[in-house]
């Protein structure tokens, strides 16, 4: 029929930096059908991890699965390898890893929320989000030496230590960031036009979230109490004051708000961790080759990231399998589009904070 318009959204599109292709069929801008193609970023990382790299180098490859959650990917792998090798890390290492992981979450969440604002046509809010996010990246740079791809995790430890000056600086910056994030959160919470664009849009109900097995902030925004940090012991979250953040609305706005709540929780955790940093070495010795199989669940910024690794006692791992949160979220995302306006589609996609390079690997 002549009233249909097929709209391609991606792979090269300004609203999503990653190559992903949605093909919408719209009638009067209302989406009636959608095709999703997430395979553009497939590079064959799982294959490379078991053929080309030694087990003690794989984390550098896995960090490049995704720039946003590089630390969680590398972390998950290393937690697994440490399990296989039987390495016991000390408290200081755990705390340092936690700080960096949470800082990573902060900058990822802030950018994700900013990006939602950007695709809603709220450029100013995006700029403010990016501006405040710089605090987090500056801290990361100070700790790890790089802004985005910081190969901080190493088997048995971390790559750099935190000095007293650093701690002081981090403390100041985090406090500053906390004030700013609260300000931003208030903006997202109360802004009228942003609310028009996001409230009640792309609602994932509790039942849907459960039925489609969603992960991460999408699940939590629908009231599903699930978080790998809560359920799987990979870093000492209970000690530093972790709180599970949920909401019940399940729409685009709720997802943004959940992210803000998590950012604030992360800041609190980091502040606690930085100020109560235990003494100790930053690296423990490890010996041998990984043998046996194990699985790891970690909470990436986008949700639960699941690793299965298997070693056979050689330098090369036998299996590295990754299941990432965005992949779990794509089915419900498809479901949401049908019946919503094309002008809301971008906000819906970006509110899922999709990470296609994780998804396709």
């Amino acid at each position: 029929m002549g009233n249909k318009i097929t709209v391609t959204f991606g792979s090269q599109h300004i609203a999503i930096p990653e190559p992903v292709s949605f093909v919408f069929e719209t009638e009067n801008e209302m989406i009636t059908k959608v095709d999703v193609d997430v395979g553009y970023v497939h590079r064959g990382i799982e294959q490379a991890a078991v053929t080309k790299f030694k087990f003690n180098n794989v984390q550098f490859l896995l960090a490049r699965v995704c720039g946003f959650c590089s630390i969680t990917h590398a972390g998950a792998y290393i937690h697994g390898v440490e399990k296989l090798l039987g390495v016991e890390t000390n408290k200081r290492i755990d705390y340092l890893r936690l700080i960096v992981t949470e800082l990573d979450r902060m900058h990822s969440h802030l950018l994700a929320n900013g990006h939602v604002a950007e695709v809603c046509g709220y450029e100013n809010l995006f700029m403010q989000s990016v501006k405040y996010r710089e605090n987090a990246t500056e801290i990361l740079e100070a700790i790890t030496g790089n802004r985005v791809q910081y190969d901080y995790y190493q088997i048995g430890g971390v790559s750099r230590d935190l000095s007293a000056e650093h701690i002081e600086m981090i403390d100041v910056k985090l406090k500053e960031l906390r004030v700013n994030v609260l300000k931003l959160r208030d903006f997202f919470d109360t802004d009228y036009t942003f609310g028009l664009k996001t409230k009640g849009v792309g609602t994932v109900t509790y039942e849907m979230a459960k039925a489609y097995n969603t992960a991460g902030s999408i699940a939590r925004a629908s009231g599903l109490r699930m978080d790998a940090r809560n359920e799987f012991d990979f870093l000492p979250y209970e000690e530093v004051g972790y709180k599970l953040q949920t909401r019940t609305e399940g729409d685009v706005w709720a997802r943004c708000m959940v992210r803000f709540d998590e950012v604030i929780n992360s800041i609190d955790m980091c502040l606690y961790a930085v100020n109560n940093l235990p003494e100790g070495e930053i690296k423990v010795k490890s010996k041998g080759k990984p043998k046996g199989e194990t699985f790891i669940r970690v909470e990436a910024p986008r949700g639960e990231c699941f690793y299965y690794i298997k070693g056979n006692g050689t330098k090369i791992m036998e299996r590295v399998r990754i299941r990432v949160p965005t992949y779990a979220n794509i089915p419900v995302l498809r479901e949401l589009f049908v019946g919503s306006q094309y002008s809301d589609a971008q906000a819906i996609v970006l509110s899922f904070d999709p990470c296609l390079s994780c998804t396709a690997r």
Partner: protein
């Protein structure tokens, strides 16, 4: 005139299957702290109105033809800035079964920005370098690497 022109480079960014790290930094470069609009740079997102193609990623096979099309849609004079290690021959993804080992086999590259991830200062520097090259380019038509009618037909730009 070319000096005036150099003050207005518009950017199209295409991620050919990288890890997002570079894309994050590009977004950050647009932000208030680095603000590349100082140099008149805008992220247009539309190749038809852009001058600089900022490519990240190691070029997966799926993205290869898209990259070619996007490049073809840009009117000359144009420059290609390859950002990040992956674009330089694949980086950590070199010789994986689904990557093309960098973009220089696909489109002609003018500037390479090294690093994984490049620092924003490096990005800005690379872009400025690109602008310097772009300033001296002319309207003359450029051709793709391996340009042929057959290739054009294969990527579907001969007849739409």
């Amino acid at each position: 005139m070319n000096d005036l022109r150099a003050k207005s480079p518009w950017i199209t960014h295409y991620n050919t299957g990288g890890c997002n790290g570079c894309d994050i930094e590009i977004l950050a470069a647009l932000g208030p702290k680095f603000d590349i609009e100082r140099f008149g740079m805008l992220n247009r997102g539309n190749p038809k109105q852009s001058d600089i193609l900022l490519v990240t990623g190691p070029v997966t096979l799926r993205c290869r033809d898209v990259l070619r099309r996007v490049w073809l849609e840009m009117p000359e004079p144009k420059v290609v800035v390859a950002m990040g290690s992956c674009t330089h021959g694949g980086g950590v993804f070199r010789h994986l079964y689904h990557t093309e080992n960098g973009i220089d086999g696909i489109v002609p590259v003018d500037v390479w920005i090294p690093g994984c991830t490049p620092r924003i200062e490096a990005i800005i520097d690379g872009l400025i370098e690109g602008v310097e090259i772009w300033k001296n380019k002319t309207k003359e038509k450029e051709y793709m690497v391996g340009h042929s009618e057959k290739l054009l037909e294969k990527i579907g730009v001969l007849n739409d």
